[in-house]
Symmetry: C2
């Protein structure tokens, strides 16, 4: 099945998983303890994240440690880039407005 990273982060459980494995590698069992769903349900989420190339895995004995592979997350950032100019522009406009109204310096 063809999925993309936007679909991957659409589910709140998957977003939570991504946060948990961002800085440490965890096994499905360990992850499942963090949620109110079965170990198999977590495995299905892992499978989806894996298909989106968001995971690195390392097998140690019968355990499999999953960790976030950060690269694909940049795709979200790149997509946002198209809009970032908009809110920065708006911020700059506000900034100029403030400068115009009060013509003295302030902390920010």
């Amino acid at each position: 099945m063809k999925r993309d990273v936007f679909q991957a982060i659409a589910d709140p459980t998957r977003r939570a998983i991504l946060l948990l494995i961002a800085t440490q590698a965890l096994t499905p069992n360990t992850l499942a303890e963090e949620f109110d769903i079965s170990r198999q349900a977590v495995s299905k989420h892992i499978k989806i994240l894996n298909e989106c190339e968001l995971l690195e895995q390392q097998k140690v004995g019968r355990e499999i440690f999953y960790q976030l592979k950060i690269d694909k997350m940049k795709e979200i950032d790149q997509w946002l880039e198209q809009f970032r100019q908009l809110w920065e522009d708006r911020f700059n406009q506000l900034d100029e407005l403030l400068i115009t109204i009060k013509n003295k310096q302030h902390g920010k």
Copy 2:
């Protein structure tokens, strides 16, 4: 129905709509011309985007112009912020490595 911005951007058609209305206000009919789906299908997407507070609307006669309200998009950016440090760290590590290996400047 309770939806969030991550669900809003999960669908490719909705992402395309968001881009189209980022810099100009458009009507559902105009938007529908851009896609191979019915005007009503576009309206359903608009409804979802509206529930996520991603839209501003202005009624002109019998037409309704929709435009992107940028604020909620920042939520995605804020969520990404949690991970941004990770790939910046990795970039910095790579940067230092390059500096260590070759101690002269190069074009990139």
